[in-house]
């Protein structure tokens, strides 16, 4: 029993928590931005897969690491533009197009992977981002290493949260984005284009999701595998609800979720095969569903979420 609690006091546990949380933070922020503008983006799983591959393949083909991040973001932006085009001006069902985008992005990624590496069975590793310890802060007990001795992409994920929060709540642009998700008519009445705001939000949000995917290949596993995103995207959609569409709460949700995930891996080692390992692997998904149930009743959805805006209607 004590062993199970001791885990929480080890520095390596918290380092793992933040590492597991980083891709979720990027993707959750991306989904949050889309949904705040009224667009559900179920392309998230595919966009993360595409981002993971784009970043990895750029470095594999000799590109710089930051170029890889840039390429991943650009790929996300492009897929986001497609999702935006289908859902905003064309007003198609966001559920169907989102699933379609996931299928398309995933299969295109696998196709391209096979073109680049026709016969390889175990994908090669790249020289990924190294942890960078911030002098002084990283020597704080327990959490120092977790928060201040991570790879640059983790720091970027925190910057991402701050930026999203700042833009959403402190700038006219953010006000417009939030208003578009609540009451698009009022925004249009102010002479601001709902289509432009929604397109922009979906594109930027998708770029963040892609960087989240790139974290997996460029900061965590250093290599690209099939099905490596493995439901993380869907979990992020649950995290957005859990965070009540607020960046700070969503960040907290992502860290809590990652803590649970890291904890179950370690608990599995402590309990040593008493329970089937699949039970532990199920936990993150069941936890997401539980989070949805707990939060959904209290959650205040953006009122125009999933409602297409057609000029001239009503």
């Amino acid at each position: 029993m004590l062993e199970a609690l001791d885990i929480l006091l080890t520095s390596s546990f918290w380092v793992a928590v933040i590492r597991i949380a980083s891709p979720l933070i990027f993707a959750t922020m991306g989904e949050l931005v889309c949904e705040r503008a009224g667009i559900l983006n179920l392309g998230i799983e595919g966009i993360m897969t595409a981002g993971a591959f784009a970043g990895w393949v750029t470095v594999y083909l000799g590109g710089d690491l930051w170029l890889g991040v840039f390429v991943a973001a650009t790929v996300g932006l492009a897929i986001g533009a497609l999702h935006g085009l289908l859902t905003v001006p064309l007003a198609l069902s966001q559920h169907v197009t989102g699933i379609g985008i996931t299928l398309l992005a995933t299969s295109l990624t696998y196709y391209t992977y096979r073109l680049v590496l026709p016969k390889v069975t175990s994908p090669p590793k790249i020289e990924a981002f190294e942890p960078y310890a911030i002098p002084g802060l990283s020597s704080l007990p327990v959490i120092g290493e977790a928060l201040f001795a991570q790879t640059p992409l983790t720091y970027l994920s925190f910057v991402c949260v701050a930026l999203v929060a700042y833009i959403l709540y402190r700038t006219p642009l953010g006000l417009a984005v939030r208003a578009v998700g609540e009451n698009p008519e009022s925004v249009e009445a102010q002479g601001i284009s709902v289509v432009a705001i929604r397109m922009g939000a979906v594109m930027c949000g998708s770029a963040m999701m892609a960087v989240g995917g790139a974290f997996l290949t460029m900061s965590a596993f250093n290599s690209f595998f099939f099905e490596m995103v493995n439901g993380r995207g869907w979990v992020c959609i649950a995290l957005v609800v859990f965070g009540s569409w607020r960046p700070g709460k969503a960040l907290l949700g992502a860290i809590l979720f990652a803590a649970f995930d890291a904890y179950q891996i370690r608990l599995q080692q402590v309990t040593g095969g008493v329970l089937p390992y699949q039970l532990f692997l199920m936990m993150p998904y069941l936890l997401s569903i539980l989070a949805l149930i707990i939060m959904a009743r209290r959650a205040t959805y953006p009122k125009a979420l999933m409602i297409p805006y057609l000029k001239g209607e009503r």
Partner: protein
């Protein structure tokens, strides 16, 4: 640019736009084939030949279409009522688990009793799988897309647990695979020596059954009404929640039959690679069929043909068989766009 509803649906448009969607899909995949350094014409010829160029190929296409008809129907029924069931994959696996539980000697019944019993139990299990998310949607307002998606992962892990534990075949040389079902629980072949089994016939029967339900019964009318406008339906005295629950029962049950038919008809036993994503491909099948149950038969055969043909093609032409997934996904997106354009006009201003 803005959308304007068209007053009348012109026949020309409802033919031209879907044809345009297929053309766009072909052009896009041609570009990808060119990237692989092959000629699109020879690749498409090889795909068509691999899908329908011989008796063997054609039967193979119908065999692979069977689970897609079931999952396509499950999605079509649910989407009609705007119940977004993305969990056909999980329901399929639950159907397969029930088939193994009942078909490996637990019930010493003759075939004509055992098979209907297994089908009924599978459907029940699949229906229960979808009732959970439907209940959460109705009671707590939890989006069923995310819950059904997450449950796909949970159920796959659950099946993996069963296959390494209680359902593991002791003779399986350590592979996580179940025992084979008894002869009494096995669906026979439609044509001797071919892989096509009676699951295909049951699938076609299910499509006709659902077509009748959706077009000719009150429930079908209510499902369409709820899908079109839940508020108005409620005001008109339809029990929206009741309709959603019935839809969930029907959809989950049909999806589970995909698992039953794959185990009892084709594979004989259960392993984790039973479905290469039939639950997700069912979404494409249903959308291409414009959610019409009879159309699902044709679109399932079409989609299955692309997969079977692409497998054959990639062995000879050296183009990755993932081109099939790309084509199917592109067809989904271009087709939903085409369907929209038959109903709306784009005004540029």
């Amino acid at each position: 640019m803005r959308l304007e509803p068209k007053d009348t649906k012109s026949l020309a448009a409802s033919i031209l736009y879907p044809v345009g969607a297929i053309l766009a899909t072909l052009i896009f995949s041609s570009i990808l084939v060119l990237m692989a350094g092959a000629s699109p014409f020879s690749v498409f010829y090889l795909v068509a030949k691999g899908a329908a160029g011989s008796q063997f190929a054609f039967f193979e296409t119908l065999t692979r279409a069977t689970p897609l008809i079931f999952t396509g129907l499950a999605v079509a029924v649910a989407f009609r009522a705007k119940l977004w069931n993305i969990g056909a994959e999980a329901q399929l696996y639950i159907g397969a688990v029930v088939t193994i539980l009942m078909g490996t000697g637990a019930l010493p019944l003759p075939s004509y009793l055992l098979i209907p019993a297994i089908m009924a139990a599978s459907m029940l299990a699949g229906a229960v799988m979808l009732l959970g998310p439907a209940f959460l949607k109705i009671r707590f307002g939890v989006d069923e897309v995310v819950t059904t998606l997450l449950l796909n992962f949970v159920i796959l892990l659950f099946v993996s647990m069963l296959l390494e534990g209680p359902l593991k075949d002791p003779m399986g040389l350590g592979w996580p695979q179940s025992e084979a079902v008894d002869d009494a629980a096995t669906l026979s072949r439609v044509v001797k020596g071919k892989r096509l089994h009676y699951g295909f016939v049951i699938a076609v029967g299910a499509a006709i059954f659902l077509w009748v339900i959706m077009k000719k019964t009150t429930l079908g009318f209510e499902m369409r009404a709820v899908g079109h406008n839940p508020n108005a339906s409620g005001f008109a005295g339809i029990s929206v929640n009741g309709v959603l629950m019935k839809t969930a029962l029907l959809s989950g049950g049909i999806a589970a039959l995909a698992g039953f038919s794959e185990v009892a008809g084709l594979k004989g036993s259960l392993s984790l690679d039973l479905s290469p994503g039939y639950g997700y491909t069912g979404i494409v099948v249903a959308m291409l069929a414009m959610l019409n149950p009879l159309g699902v038969i044709l679109s399932a055969i079409f989609v299955s043909g692309i997969f079977v043909g692409a497998d054959a093609m990639s062995r000879t032409a050296g183009v990755p068989s993932y081109i099939a997934d790309v084509m199917v996904a592109t067809a989904l997106l271009t087709m939903v766009t085409a369907i929209m354009l038959t109903r709306f006009r784009i005004r540029w201003r």
